[in-house]
Symmetry: C2
Subunit: 322 residues, 2 copies
């Protein structure tokens, strides 16, 4: 029997190896130490894995060397956004260690993020593919970066604004999180020389996957203890982030005195209230619904081991516990 | 007679027009207002101008449409670095207006810079050229961004460190400022389908031009009043930046109590001391020497109007008064 988890783990190892090689500790070493820090702390590498899977789903025999640089580029972009987001959200821990700006300082955190950003595009330029496909990937990845900035801008703007609707939340999350997943899937499709329809299908599947992933992330922020999550539980509540859960809760009469939610016990109580109002269940229902719709987009693509792994991985994304 | 200034001004207008069109005010408009803000405030557009001149020097009839996106990309990268540098240096004014983070806030400043960064690479992907030349430009521009980060990291590290040598300063400036000029010249050469030697020559000329430009910038920071410079005079002194002038001054017994240099009168005195020690003259001498060596790199290239303009522009860069 085909064990999708073993196959995905193997891809993760390849990506970890590539990331390790791609950012050598050159002068000034401390900049590169700061840039490597979060990457070395781990991460699930879901985005680069789906680049590889998308490419293999459309072209099962594509060489790993042809798709690994693009996969690494996507992971670097993701890590760049984390480093800068942590500054904006004033978060002090991630992946169970200090955030970059907490350890090195504000300027250094900005620069470490900027360096990862540049490195992502440099690595993309080494892709062994038709140059016109590299240019297409460049366009898609840079546009995704722009959407991530737009989404993060909205996320900040939405903080503590109780008028935010479900539609506004979904638009924000589509930009902030899903656009990079969509780009990852589309880039895999482009490098596998997929036809327009296939790439479009992968893109739409990626969007759905990313939105579902983010909703699950919002849920985990509420229900997962620090030692599992690697960051403070309930940080979204404390920061007044408008999640689907919060929007549902507010619409159903849940009263949350956000500014005072600092003690563990108070966070427990707030989560309990949201659970009782059905807000967490509602968010998960929505995540399943969106993901199902996304899966249907790639239903017509030829079946393959990679396609099966993609679908399993998407399921994992909304059932994961960390 | 060929008037190089008129020709350069015309190129500046083309670039201003392109920049204006390339960043439309789409949703969320305020992000794009913040991203456009510094660009709209003006700037000499020297970097994109040299992209155009370099291309025309190697291929006089190259269409403007083929080189304008790359030129705009370089200017966007430059503006991105200014937005983030202003945060790191805690500068409150530039181009006679508030800096982006002062006007919008820290998170917004980081995001506006990140958006410009992404936009630069997106615009590059629209270049009408052989796709392999676009990929080469991508590699060169992303590497330049990385070098800018390295240089900015060193600049911060060097602050108030009186042991910094001339060689260390030159290495820092080569990374922080000159690498983007070198990339601009090389990208022009690549898009004009120049041969390896021509691109290399342009690159080296760009490095020299950039170093000379930065030395002149350091001098202007000391001698130019606010209403001409558009930012506070003597900010380098106040921030303890190690410039060639400062390094020379310290080596020649100039004593500067940096932390107390806040009043206009005190800055006047500090500048006078550096002038009397010959530090400013020394820096300008060095700038001329480096630029002359850079000019020699492109001496063997076929003469053309664009090449003449490049050389005139380089001269202007180290004689300019703002």
């Amino acid at each position: 029997m085909h064990d999708w988890k073993v196959s995905v783990q193997e891809k993760k190892r390849l990506i970890d190896g590539a990331l390790d090689e791609l950012i050598p500790l050159v002068f000034p070493e401390e900049l590169y130490r700061a840039a490597r820090y979060l990457i070395e702390a781990g991460g699930k590498r879901l985005r680069p894995i789906v680049v590889l899977l998308s490419a293999r789903a459309l072209q099962p025999n594509i060489e790993i060397e042809q798709i690994l640089p693009a996969a690494a580029a996507v992971e670097l972009v993701h890590n760049f956004t984390l480093v800068h987001d942590d500054i904006m959200d004033a978060d002090e821990t991630r992946r169970s260690i200090e955030t970059v700006h907490t350890k090195w300082g504000l300027s250094e955190g900005i620069l470490a993020g900027d360096a990862l950003y540049a490195k992502a595009f440099e690595i993309l330029s080494y892709t062994l593919a038709k140059p016109e496909n590299v240019t297409k990937c460049l366009r898609i990845l840079s546009k995704a970066c722009l959407h991530v900035c737009e989404g993060q801008w909205l996320d900040i703007t939405f903080e503590n604004d109780r008028r935010i609707s479900e539609a506004q939340y979904l638009e924000m999350v589509q930009k902030k999180t899903a656009s990079l997943y969509a780009a990852a899937l589309a880039m895999g499709g482009i490098l596998a020389d997929g036809i327009e329809d296939e790439i479009q299908a992968m893109w739409e599947f990626g969007l759905a996957m990313g939105i579902a992933f983010q909703i699950r992330d919002d849920v985990l922020d509420l229900i997962t203890p620090y030692d599992v999550l690697g960051k403070d539980r309930g940080s979204d509540l404390v920061e007044g982030k408008m999640t689907l859960i919060m929007i549902h809760g507010l619409r159903h009469g849940v009263k949350l005195n956000l500014s005072e939610l600092t003690a563990e016990r108070e966070i427990d109580e707030a989560v309990k209230t949201l659970e009782d109002a059905g807000s967490i269940a509602y968010a998960m229902e929505k995540a399943h619904e969106i993901l199902d719709s996304g899966k249907s987009k790639i239903a017509s693509l030829t079946d393959s081991e990679a396609k099966e792994e993609l679908l399993k991985l998407a399921e994992y994304m909304i059932s994961r516990t960390y």
